[in-house]
Symmetry: C2
Amino acid sequence: MKRPTIADIARRAGVSKGAVSYALNGQPGVSEATRQRIVAIAQEIGFNPNSAARALSGASARAVGLTLCRPARILSIEPFFMGLISGFEQELAARSYALTLQVVATPENETQVYRRWWGERRVDGVFVTDLRENDIRIPVLDELQLPAVVIGGPGDTGRVTQLWSDDAGAITEAVRYLMALGHRRIARVGGLPDLLHTRTRTRAFTEICASLGLSEAVTVPSDYTGEEGGRATRRLLINAERPTAIIYDNDVMAVAGLSVAQEMGLSVPGDLSIVAWDDSPLCSLVHPPLTALTRDIAAYGAHAARQLLAAIAGEPVQDVEEGTAHLTPRGSTAPPREP
Amino acid sequence: MKRPTIADIARRAGVSKGAVSYALNGQPGVSEATRQRIVAIAQEIGFNPNSAARALSGASARAVGLTLCRPARILSIEPFFMGLISGFEQELAARSYALTLQVVATPENETQVYRRWWGERRVDGVFVTDLRENDIRIPVLDELQLPAVVIGGPGDTGRVTQLWSDDAGAITEAVRYLMALGHRRIARVGGLPDLLHTRTRTRAFTEICASLGLSEAVTVPSDYTGEEGGRATRRLLINAERPTAIIYDNDVMAVAGLSVAQEMGLSVPGDLSIVAWDDSPLCSLVHPPLTALTRDIAAYGAHAARQLLAAIAGEPVQDVEEGTAHLTPRGSTAPPREP
DNA sequence: CACTTCCCCTGAAGCGGTTGACTTTGAAGC
DNA sequence: GCTTCAAAGTCAACCGCTTCAGGGGAAGTG
């Protein structure tokens, strides 16, 4: 089956290709009557503009890219990315932009993919996640002048727009809440230490705990996997002076931590309170349901997509701090049992 | 910064554009010496062929598509899709095919996306998941002659290749295992009833239970969400003659079921054994870890990608049944406690 | 030596849109 | 009645690559 082209439409409408192009793109240069006739014919024969031809003649590729640099076993279970992608799609689908996905092994590979996509003119812009200190991807994006939005800062991203959520505020709320419940020994199981938002959280956690007089507040680095989160929890709980509350940098580790506590015969929340960062359905799924720092990840993604589309359109875009995640108390937090 | 084109390479190499094209694509028509010179120059100036131009001149788009038709809150937590995507990428990245993703609301929308993608020549083929009975997407794919691979059958897909795993064998193994442990009242919480593989599983479950003399084997339909899985579990467990073992169609519902059992004061596996279908890290994360029907989803995805690429290349492809998922016993299954 | 054959390469058409230069038409303005 | 001008269209170039027809020269053949 032959795909219809604007030439087919032009023939049937008795006009030139140019007129069809103007009509379908809402450009001036054709009368309203002609435009309607052309649009009707296009509809009738099910015309869709060939994206390659469009992209070739200078217009945009109408596609944006996302590279994911996490091992498959983390990706599959980490709800964050799919939430983000759903959010992207809300905005992209509305303007019929496509989302191109690539899973890569290292940040170096990511820069290679950016270069290739740019060279191939395959995407008009990219989403960048998991920002690191002195991230090697930033200079590449700068060099290529590839529109981009960084999700998760704030950091030094030069020309590249960024979007982040107020992690410091969120962790402060969590610590204050746990303190109000009576906790004094609060620990945190952090995400990948290289990531900038992990550092932000660690710094904020240390600061707020110091300012509140919690001297023993400790962050154990981890990697977002359940296994590591579980191990880190076990290490924390075998201490004589074990924490009475643990904040986890993602929900997967929090669930793993809950499981470890139960396995060690500790009751949650009696012996240990647990707070998860990011409130996926996972948190309400386990028993007891986990108190979590809730933020609307899909909305976050949608916002990022709007920013990226604006950047692509050449509109001025500014760095944005999204709202603070708020605490959703559930069954996993309670006052610590008297010793 | 200007992107290099084959014309730039041709100029520097002192040959024609055509020669460059032949050289870079491994076509005959240039001498080995010239080819190497051209390839070296291309490397040096960081050349990547413009995908639009390539696609336009008849070659393929070097992209495949995947539509996901599940609500965001399921997608984000369901590990299956990300596992599948990781598997796709293994194959696609190796041949520098891009993966284009679109989240849609209904199967009708999926057919619209197929039509658009096809019309735009944006993809060379698509992955189709969640096959239904008399799936409306199949005739559209047929009509468009759009290469496709259906993941999850077997069903009536006409010209379209399909790939499925032996669900009947897997569920038989699970039921046999539970019987061997001494269970006689086995229930199942199923996935979306519309999906073909859910029906296959339901039929197989009913048959094997009947043939083994388990008269009360019942399947409760659900929708893969934790909430529904939990509700279904609760409904099963409030019966006087409650089941002593439940098989869940995905891991998310299994985890929710575990949580409900604990909330109701039942011990797992003492009072209730639980088997999850698909063994994501989630299953090892909870306490007790869940016995699961394990299959390598990434490998499944990789296989599907190979099939699709073959179909795109015009090679003959046949329907394939992947291996049977095997049972991975963990702490959530044990002989039922004596009544 | 003339002829064919083969290899290596050139030149140009064409994929399907977009876009700027240009033409035609009709109506307003003087 | 003549110029002027905007609106409505036409025309052709162009984006960067692929591919086909064909040309030139070297090698092989009788």
